[in-house]
Symmetry: C2
Subunit: 112 residues, 2 copies
C-alpha cells in the first residue's frame, strides 16, 4: 500500500508552502480511502512519495485516471490567503491503495 502526491512544480512554491499543500492532499485523499486501506497503509509505515507535474492540466488528467481506476484521490486548491491566487490547483493526492494500481496512473512521473 502506498500514497502518491503529485505537486505542480511550475508554481515555484517555497519548500514550506509546498509541504503544506502536499500534507493537505495526503490528508484529504486518506480521508476518502476506506478504513481497511488506511489501516493497512498505516501499519506498513504509511509510505508516501511526492511526484512532479508541470501544469494544472496534468493534475486534472491524472485525477480522471485515478477515478477510472477506482482509487481514492483529492485535487487540492489553495485558499489563496498568501502567495497564490484563490482557487489555484496545487496538488493531487492518490491513495492509500495498492502500489500496482497507483503505478498504473502515476508510474511515468518523476520524483518532485
Amino acid at each position: 500500500m502506498k500514497q502518491v502526491i503529485v505537486a505542480r512544480r511550475d508554481l515555484d512554491l517555497d519548500a514550506g508552502k509546498l509541504a503544506a499543500q502536499v500534507a493537505h492532499a495526503a490528508l484529504t485523499a486518506a480521508d476518502r480511502a476506506d478504513d481497511d486501506a488506511r489501516s493497512q497503509w498505516r501499519d506498513g509505515g504509511q509510505k508516501k512519495v511526492v511526484l512532479r507535474a508541470d501544469a494544472e492540466r496534468d493534475l486534472h488528467e491524472l485525477a480522471e485516471e485515478a477515478r477510472r481506476e477506482g482509487l481514492p484521490h483529492a485535487v487540492i486548491r489553495d485558499a489563496g490567503h498568501t502567495v497564490l491566487e484563490p482557487g489555484t490547483v496545487t496538488t493531487l493526492g492518490i491513495g492509500p491503495a495498492p502500489a500496482a494500481a497507483i503505478d498504473r496512473v502515476t508510474g511515468e512521473l518523476s520524483l518532485y
Copy 2:
C-alpha cells in the same frame, strides 16, 4: 483550529522529501486528535502551517511542551530507506487544536 508542523531545516532535505515528512507528521498528529477537533478543523479549511527548527533537540522540547498542554502531537522518524539514516527525527506535528493553545508552544518559531 489549526495544525502546525515543525520541520528540521538542518537536515537540508530536498523539497519533495521534506514534503513527504511533513505529510507524515500531519497525518499522524491528526490521527491522534479526537474526532470533534478533526472535523472542526476540516470544516474550517484544514489550516496548517510549516515552521522551522534547527536541531533535533528542539523537536523533542516542543513535543514535551505539547504533551504538557494536552495537545495531540507526533514526532516522526524517517524509515531511512533513502537519504537519511534510519530513525532520523525529521518533523513534529501538533494539532489540530485551537490556534491559541498551539501558539503557546510554537508561537516563537519562524515559517520554514
